[in-house]
Symmetry: C2
Subunit: 554 residues, 2 copies
């Protein structure tokens, strides 16, 4: 099987996790990369800013990479490009809006290298080595999203990217059913499909449902309307702007990423803004309250975002006032629920009416639900199926759906990042494994924070630290100063003098012991101090601060 | 208004938050306390074990307290009792199961004081000073829950506790509609009602729905069944056991709190267990797989719980094997979603079939939804209404429901913890404020961790720490050793030698400066070191570790 004539599919991210989607296709000496996304850190990755995929495999094979092909402009598909493009010099292919967002991202991260970007449109094909890549229009929660139909010497591979089947999309350009049907009819070897909503029965609602809710809300709102949404959801923004214009309201855009995306989308023609609809934030004070819409970021309750600042009375320019209607047009991403709820609570306290998730129609997902996933499987009729983009249980559910529509279980691969799946026209087998994993980005450091640093942060976060400083004479080995104690995040030292004194006594008695035994094995003494003081503090407080004995010799 | 003949209602916890429910009623010199619950810490309360209410007001008025009345045995209603009863010597009234759980809790926390507990039954009344307290049966996700009908010289107060209107409860004892109707007919001055599900439209499903799902799952399961649930949900446990007996399976109980609660409930007669249904965990190996049910804790993905350990292959006695069916019979509490999802993923990886939240019928809430809340309002027909038990937006939604059923807005109080609400038969007014708030419990320390300690833990958790040790001669003021650097949670020191050396250079040049200027203002030097090194490290790493300069004089 490990023949030269086989196609290798190598997921490097996005399997068993939500985010950092990246996948390599290889045929002989030709390699293409699909997407290059980032992931937001898990709770236990204390202090980490973001997580990017480990691309060692791509670096080792950089001379074979014919191109990086992007499906759409979300962070979990393009966010790692500034890091990837430092290591890999390959042309980047994407649709116009996607590349607009990539450009902005590279500028923002002070990317200095040269990147060749090539703009493509849905319906077009390009040849990258052995691969003929066709871009297929799909609906998603960002404009200009595409799936990929990839003809290889072994057979056709379809990669859906992120998608849904919106029957009434805002831009009237539905997912290209005909193309998927045509490929299915011709015969598809492997389908890779988006598993994000594989747990959800039925169909995902059309984006237009949100427009209807906007309309109803605008009809009833007597004063200002504030809408928070994902900046990248151009269709949502379009609906907010269209509804505002319909009700003769002006729209002020607030929040860095919202301003950026609106500018890019507008320049590239992805937003249709009626003349004189947008106004500067400063000018809303000259308008009656029922003529104003504020479009902003912060739908996830992010602490530094515009909406959160408004809710906390901490925004420089916008204050929430009684009579405001706030629409939070997004669902909390798992893990963000509490932050979102807190923002809603504060908005209510400021006197706003808040319309949020529990009110139906204020948000719809951008991902296909179970019936749509089955429709994709039935349209494409692949011989082999690999669910992608999802946590493990979502991949499992998607695999079950594939079995339900008749794909033989042995032709379904619930794979892991780093696995090498090899396909011939007849067979598919897992043949090996390449390096794959998570690289943590903390400030300027890429990959320099590992398990030890994280473990220390965790211990420090729970019970703080307790430093014991002892000064000894280098020659005589006698203690000349200390023990001194410095503590942070453990107890209020001022209210715990007795505890600190007793801890010092413990250390003194250790030191006396050592003097008696004429021991100068400082590492051993340190570890003895750590153990004794740790035990003492645990007994007295049931806390386990990090204990750092520092011995200074003079 | 501040007359002697008014009734004071003083919520001390549970308003604007989920948890630590506690409320005081006062008439002249008589005071009763309703519930005494705890809250689990928020994410940003690093290292905190639990949160209890500030009861300064009760301590100041301890001689007036005629009793502590409990509505049911959940932690958010009884969990702070071990702390409260250390300060307050008052009899505790509750139903049999509630007191059984209180006893266990007091034993567990090595409570040494004397507590007078008085067992009551639904339907009974007791007189506590000026208050006649009647216990009214309600359905909830724990057995033996009651609401309170409290006759006071000013009028009747109804406190619902936590409740739902289950039309087909597992124990065939529905909420006592007639009592609420009777009180409503006689006239109720104030209703305090549970707001937990005020955002949910419609009715909450009956607990029996879960039994039906259990039945279906048991019918289809070919091998072992593992059910995780809240230990306190006796009716859920009853249904698991009943279904097991119906399908001729034996039940092994695993997990400390599950074993405890099953024992207590069984002793007190709240569980009806067919003979020979329970078996020891050790004995399941002697049974065929399709004769086994394991009933366990861990439905919230808690890291140390039995189910999580099984999922992570870390349980001493139970290993998940292919063919197991795991039912997670609970919804993730907000904030726990990621832990629950991770547990589910691992269970799938071990080869289990997992039935969880997205599958309808595997869990129902114990709290009334909007239609039930309106029914309660219509049955009780109070003059004044105070929504309790909920975050701010839930109280607001509940207030809206009350307006919808015709309670005048000026008679609805969306109150805060610590507010004093005074009522006469004609009027209700907020007249003052008493101390109320959160007391953090960390290990043995109650209230000794405050904002400074938490702020330090937060900084340490994000970027770790960087200690600079300098030793100087006390007399000459000369530097005799150092600077030495100790760092944790910041960077791998071994891979960052250059950075550390440069930091040392920065410190040396500060010290040289000081020597030249003959400065011995050590606090000023420390702060200069902190600032300079902090700035240097931020420029080089974009991280802000806590910088601790330590000066040792010898």
């Amino acid at each position: 099987m490990k023949g030269k004539r086989s196609l290798k599919i190598i997921p490097l991210g996005g399997l068993g996790e939500i985010g950092k989607n990246i996948l390599a296709l290889r045929y002989q000496h030709d390699l293409i990369v699909i997407d290059g996304g980032l992931m937001f850190p898990e709770d236990e990755m204390l202090g980490i800013d973001l997580v990017i995929p480990d691309i060692s495999y791509l670096i080792e094979n950089r001379e074979h990479i014919r191109g990086i092909v992007l499906t759409h402009g979300h962070e979990d598909h393009i966010g790692a490009l500034p890091y990837i493009l430092r290591e890999i010099n390959a042309p980047v292919y994407g649709t116009r809006l996607t590349l607009g967002l990539v450009d902005a991202k590279l500028r923002e991260s002070n990317f200095t290298g040269k990147v060749k970007t090539c703009c493509v449109s849905a319906g077009e094909s390009i040849q990258l080595g052995a691969f003929q890549v066709q871009f297929i229009r799909v609906s998603h929660s960002i404009a200009d999203a595409v799936a990929l139909g990839i003809k290889t010497p072994v057979g056709t591979v379809v990669h859906t990217g992120d998608f849904k089947f919106d029957q009434t999309p805002v831009n009237n350009q539905p997912t290209d059913y005909h193309k998927f049907a045509e490929l299915g009819k011709e015969g598809v070897l492997v389908l890779l499909s988006d598993s994000t909503n594989a747990e959800r029965p039925g169909f995902t609602f059309s984006e237009r449902v949100v427009g209807e809710t906007f309309d109803e809300t605008f009809r009833n709102a007597k004063e200002r309307i504030i809408i928070a949404s994902f900046a990248s959801n151009i269709h949502r923004i379009q609906q907010a702007i269209t509804t505002a214009a319909r009700y003769k309201r002006k729209v002020a855009v607030v929040g860095r990423s919202m301003v950026n995306v609106v500018n890019i989308a507008r320049e590239l023609g992805y937003l249709d803004i009626p003349p004189e609809t947008l106004i500067d934030l400063e000018d809303i004070q000259h308008l009656p309250k029922n003529r104003v819409v504020i479009l902003t970021t912060g739908s996830q309750g992010e602490p530094m975002s515009a909406l959160t600042r408004m809710a906390m009375c901490d925004h420089r320019k916008v204050e929430i006032i009684t009579g405001d209607t706030v629409i939070i047009s997004a669902n909390p991403i798992p893990g963000n629920e509490k932050m979102v709820h807190r923002t809603i609570d504060h908005l209510f306290k400021q006197g706003a009416e808040v319309i949020y998730e529990s009110v139906s129609g204020v948000h719809v997902s951008g991902h296909a639900s179970q019936e749509e996933l089955k429709l994709m499987l039935n349209l494409v009729r692949p011989k082999f199926f690999i669910p992608v983009h999802g946590e493990y249980r979502q991949l499992i559910k998607h695999a079950q759906l594939a079995r339900d529509v008749g794909i033989p279980p042995e032709n379904i691969f619930v794979a892991e990042n780093g696995q090498v799946l090899e396909f011939t026209p007849e067979r598919g087998v897992v043949t090996g494994r390449v390096t794959a994993g998570r690289v943590l980005v903390d400030g300027l450091g890429v990959g320099d924070v590992g398990n030890i640093v994280l473990r220390d942060r965790k211990q420090l976060s729970r019970d703080g630290l307790f430093i014991v400083v002892i000064t000894i004479d280098r020659e005589s080995g006698e203690v000349v100063a200390g023990p001194d104690i410095v503590s942070r995040g453990f107890v209020y030292v001022r209210e715990s003098e007795e505890l600190i004194e007793e801890a010092k006594d413990k250390v003194r008695s250790i030191l006396r012991d050592c003097e008696l035994r004429q021991s100068t094995d400082w590492p051993a003494i340190k570890s003895y101090v750590r153990e004794t003081v740790g035990k003492f503090l645990y007994e007295r407080t049931r806390r386990r601060p990090m204990i750092l004995p520092i011995i200074v010799d003079v």
